[in-house]
Amino acid sequence: MNMHLSDRRIDKISLRKLCPEVFSDEDVSGSDIWLKNFAFVRGRDYTIEACSGSGKSSLCSFIYLNRHDFRGELLFDACDSRTFTTAEACAMRQRHIALVPQELRLFPELSAIDNIRLKNKLAAFRTEDEMLEMLDALGISSLAGRPVGQMSIGQMQRVAIVRALCQPFDFILLDEPVSHLDRDNNLAAANLILREARRQGASVITTSVGNPLIIPDAEIVRL
């Protein structure tokens, strides 16, 4: 049983000589993360810059306890990520780590607000008003009732961001969250995410291949 099923917060995600198994033959010497000792510390923000295929999404999956096909160690404070059962991983996803995956993984048959409610139900974290207010902050409150399948990718990205914010978290991972958004929407999203992260004392970890979420003080990490 891992201690993070309790309400104790996670202060540090440590990566010890981490490397995806598929990269075992590749030269990763230019990376700040792969095969190095690195730590994400709660309270600081990070922007991971990388070319396509350098393993951003893999890194997000490892931290989200979704995949374990890596070498080295990944520790949440003192807990080895490999020791988590599926149920424990789900508990982590409910209370400690939020993710906006690159492919978004929204349910197209559900409306935007239902997609968000589905997440919110797990921890009963936000009120209905708060959810609508966040949609409004990203300029899509008028689309709340529309099935996600009928939305553009940019609109879906914003729904996914609001959904990820509807849970308590220590770290929020955003995998290219604004790739289809213009600068204004990028700023609006960054403001909302930062506001919620600061309110929760959490870290923002975002990845980008060229259109990063605009977080002024984020530490730039090369992958």
């Binding site: 149920a87 789900c90 508990a91 349910f107 239902d114 589905l118 797990l122």
Partner: protein
């Protein structure tokens, strides 16, 4: 909202097919079990339970007329052990013969009639009358006697009607005072005796074992006839089983009366209900396969959604509960339906038989079986749900 997502690919046809198939299978199974139990109850509850007991003896050889040896018609200890080890023998008892002379007299409507006769005894557990009066006290000697029910019939319909004597009911016969004179070993005494019961199982005039021991020691010549009895009584666990008759045949043992036949009908009924019940069980098992397959398909079709829900933080057990609810609902319905069918079919055979005064087994055991099957089927399905979800998540 989860159910809104997950119920999308539910195939109503598959679940209805399962429900129908399992309803049919379970209804057949439960009905045959109840039928079997009713038939059993009728046999052991009624007075005519002779089929379960066999009285065994050996054929008398020609030579014994000329004072041949007793050993040829008695059972040796080895033979008794052999018999005891047969799988169909539940209990075995030895008849003990009287080692003294018996003369019985009755004051019958003014006429004194007397006759030489004999006594046999056997262990109390084989006696098919209430055992309250089946005792003997040497200080207050009165001998309880058991006679075959056939004897009464012979007297009433053969002897009494031709001689102009009164016919006797079973109650009346117990009132007749008998005098029994025992002699042997230089003694001669007269005792009161009373017919305490009529047996349809025992084809002999029987007295309690404890009286027989007492009388043999008092009037007997001292030779111990009980160690090698010439007649045995056996309780058979599978009445009517052809194997019993075969074994007896091959060992040269005779049945004193062919009581096997009386058990045959019941045996056939039991076999028939076992076969029918087996068919029901097979149908139920096949329907279970439909259910397992439907669950598997449904979860496979919803694989992406299940994976996404788990990524969202929904534990697999939470998702499994959605499918559990479907399975439990289905199985509750099917079980209730099957029980209703069983009870209504049971009425069909119970009504005509109840008119004859036959009692039935209670349906509780059958209901318990239905619940047990439901729990087993539900457990298998819920296990399938969990296994399939766990496989779908990765």
């Amino acid at each position: 909202m989860i159910s809104k997502l997950l119920r999308k690919n539910i195939s109503v046809v598959q679940f209805v097919a399962y429900a129908l198939a399992n309803l049919i299978g379970m209804a057949i199974l439960l009905t045959s079990v109840q039928f079997y139990r009713d038939v059993r109850a009728q046999r052991s509850g009624g007075s005519d339970a002779a089929g379960e007991y066999l009285v065994l003896s050996k054929p008398v050889p020609m030579l014994s007329i000329f004072g041949g040896n007793q050993a040829a018609v008695s059972f040796s200890a080895d033979e008794i052990d052999d018999l005891q080890s047969q799988p169909w023998v539940r209990k075995l008892g030895k008849f003990a013969a009287a080692d003294y002379n018996v003369v019985a007299a009755v004051d019958f409507a003014g006429k004194i009639m007397s006759t030489a006769m004999f006594f046999e005894s056997l262990p109390d557990e084989f006696v098919d009358i209430p055992l309250d009066n089946w005792t003997f006290d040497p200080d207050k000697p009165q001998i309880p006697v058991l006679i075959p029910r056939d004897y009464l019939a012979l007297y009433n319909f053969g002897f009494a009607s031709s001689r102009g004597m009164p016919q006797l009911s079973e109650n009346l016969i117990a009132q007749i005072p008998l005098k029994v004179e025992l002699s042997g070993n230089g003694r001669r005494d007269v005792f009161d005796a009373r017919i305490v019961g009529l047996s349809s199982r025992l084809n002999t005039i029987a007295v309690p074992d404890e009286f027989m021991k007492w009388a043999n020691s008092r009037y007997g010549s001292g030779s111990d006839s009980s160690s090698e009895p010439s007649r045995l009584i056996v309780e058979v666990s599978t009445p009517g089983d052809p194997a019993v008759a075969q074994w007896l045949d091959s060992h040269g043992i005779e049945l004193s009366a062919d009581k096997l036949n009386s058990g045959k009908t019941a045996y056939i009924a039991a076999v028939a209900s076992a076969v029918v019940g087996g068919v029901g069980l097979v149908i139920s098992l096949l329907s279970l396969m439909i259910l397992v397959l439907s669950i598997y398909l449904l979860i496979q079709k919803n694989r992406e959604k299940i994976r996404d829900l788990i990524l969202l933080g929904y534990a697999p057990s939470t998702l499994a509960r959605f499918y559990d609810r479907i399975v439990i609902g289905l199985n509750l319905g099917v079980t209730a339906g099957a029980v209703v069918v069983m009870l209504s079919v049971a009425r069909l055979w119970r009504q005509p038989l109840a008119a004859v005064g036959i009692e039935f087994a209670s349906p509780w055991l059958t209901l318990l079986l239905a619940i047990a099957i439901m729990l087993a089927v539900t457990a298998v399905s819920c296990l399938t749900v969990r296994r399939t979800i766990n496989r779908a998540k990765s």
